[in-house]
């Protein structure tokens, strides 16, 4: 009679496979490294290191004089205002298109498949929204800066178009994925589409719609900073200027203000979404 002793293996039984897959991955990575000119040693070249050290050394002390802080405060408000105004206009774009493209509000779809005309109209509106959404806001801003000149107008318009597309698409998805019985009941009993929307579809989905909108507002604040880099005003433009003038102290202050702003928007948005349920 022998007793079997359970003993842990001395080494990882699957090591061969692991080594093989890791080396295969490294081989696959080679062309990526070539395409992105991935040369980390550039970072520690003496010349670059000196420039970096100089720039980072300038970060301290932070620039905190009253004049600059006043400017930062004004630009911070402009960033928030740009995001808010942009999102308001995005709603103006998104709401009509959502109503137009919504399949739940189709009367012909109540009995059998949707009629051909309305189906094409809805698909067309959807494609238009996808188009608005898939051009990044930065590219819209570049275009509008050419047309209306430097300043917040370009930024507001860029946010309005991209976010209009995004909101329109997601609103459509939310409205169609929710409970549709109430709405269809209303429609079957002869109410108009708008009535069915306001008394059936909207109340059912209001909380989800609002919380998505608040989340997008938070995202819009982040993108309105970025838009400043192409000349749309706000914190981003200020940061771009300070960076070009190689003023480390100002850059550091702006970065901190920016992190604080994003954290604040994050908190406000989380709190609002919780309060709205």
């Amino acid at each position: 009679m022998s007793t079997t002793v359970l003993r842990a293996p001395d080494r990882d039984p699957a090591w061969l496979g692991r080594v093989f897959w890791i080396s295969a991955l490294l081989v696959l990575l080679w062309p990526l490294g070539v395409a992105t000119e991935f040369k980390p040693w550039v970072l520690v070249e003496p010349r670059n290191l000196k420039v970096t050290a100089q720039f980072l050394g300038g970060f301290w002390p932070l620039t905190l004089n009253a004049e600059f802080m006043g400017l930062v405060l004004r630009e911070t408000w402009r960033t928030v205002a740009m995001a808010t105004a942009g999102l308001t206009l995005a709603l103006v774009v998104a709401i009509p298109f959502t109503l137009l493209s919504n399949r739940v509000l189709s009367i012909s779809a109540l009995v059998g498949p949707m009629a051909r005309g309305p189906a094409w109209l809805r698909q067309g509106v959807r494609w238009f929204l996808v188009f608005l959404r898939s051009i990044p806001e930065l590219v819209w801003a570049l275009v509008f800066v050419r047309v209306v000149g430097l300043g917040p107008t370009a930024g507001v318009l860029a946010i309005a178009l991209t976010y209009g597309g995004m909101l329109g698409k997601v609103y459509g998805e939310i409205l169609e994925s929710g409970e549709t019985h109430t709405t269809q009941n209303l429609l079957r009993n002869g109410s108009g589409r708008l009535q069915a929307f306001f008394y059936g579809l909207l109340p059912t989905n209001a909380a989800e719609l609002t919380s998505y909108t608040v989340y997008r507002w938070e995202c819009a604040i982040r993108s309105s900073v970025v838009l400043g880099f192409v000349g749309a005003g706000g914190l981003g433009q200020q940061m771009d200027n300070s960076m070009k003038m190689f003023n480390g102290g100002e850059v550091a202050t702006l970065l901190l203000v920016f992190i604080a702003l994003v954290a604040l928007a994050d908190q406000v948005s989380a709190w609002l979404r919780k309060a709205l349920g």
Binding site: A35, T36, F55, A85, S134, P152, M239, A263, A275
Partner: protein, 278 residues
Amino acid sequence: MSAPTKPQAANEVYRLPPSLFHGRCKACWFLAGLLVLIVASFWSLDLQWAQFFSGEAARSMGRFLAEFFPPDTSPEFVSRVAQGAWETLAMSALGTLIAAVVGLALALPASRLHEGDAAWGRAPTRLLLNALRSIPELVWAALLLISAGLGPFAGTLALALHTSGVLGRLFAEAIENAPTGPGAALRVQGLGAGRVFLFATLPQVLPQLMSYTLYRWENNIRAAAILGVVGAGGLGQLLSFHMGLFQMNKTATVLAAMLLLVGLVDAMSNLSRRLLTR
């Protein structure tokens, strides 16, 4: 108990609905605040609607759009754009991969691995992750240009830094929420923290980590396309270069390539999601 009580009604006493506005109505205050914010925003921005909606602007917009046509489709330029698109893809892939590795390395100190874990590094690491996360890719790219020079390398690093913050936080959440049973079983046998993680926690959370990484890659392709606007390589650099020189035909080609890339990524992710959730 001698005071005469009012006779109780058999049913609920009829009450009018609350008036539309009263001091404790949270929604009213929220709406009022929102309205003030919106009005203040529009009022303080001095938007040039008059200029935008004027005939002059419409004409300049029309001229601007007309200049886009016909897009430059000469083979040499198309091949340059294709190279830019490949560069964009490579930047996003490499950046996401680095971010996944760095994110995992940061997620470990940022999570409480078991009940008795003191997790001293949790708060500071989370602070670092939040800082990485809250600076957008484009700002990172503009900062990194100083030490990495113009070109896709700065863009890759920028994507990697921002995404490390995002993924690190998501990974930490995933690790903390993983079932603790297998890990505890190994720990009572006396295994070290490293092996407990590698053989108990990691296999459980790996699918989730993979799906987060793939999702961020999808986002990063979109981000990489525009990073070049500040000079960090890819399609964006071509875009800002040709737009700056007013070569609108070439700009149109680059824009079309961007749309195509984003559209393809969207379609792929939709398809894979549909296949996976079926």
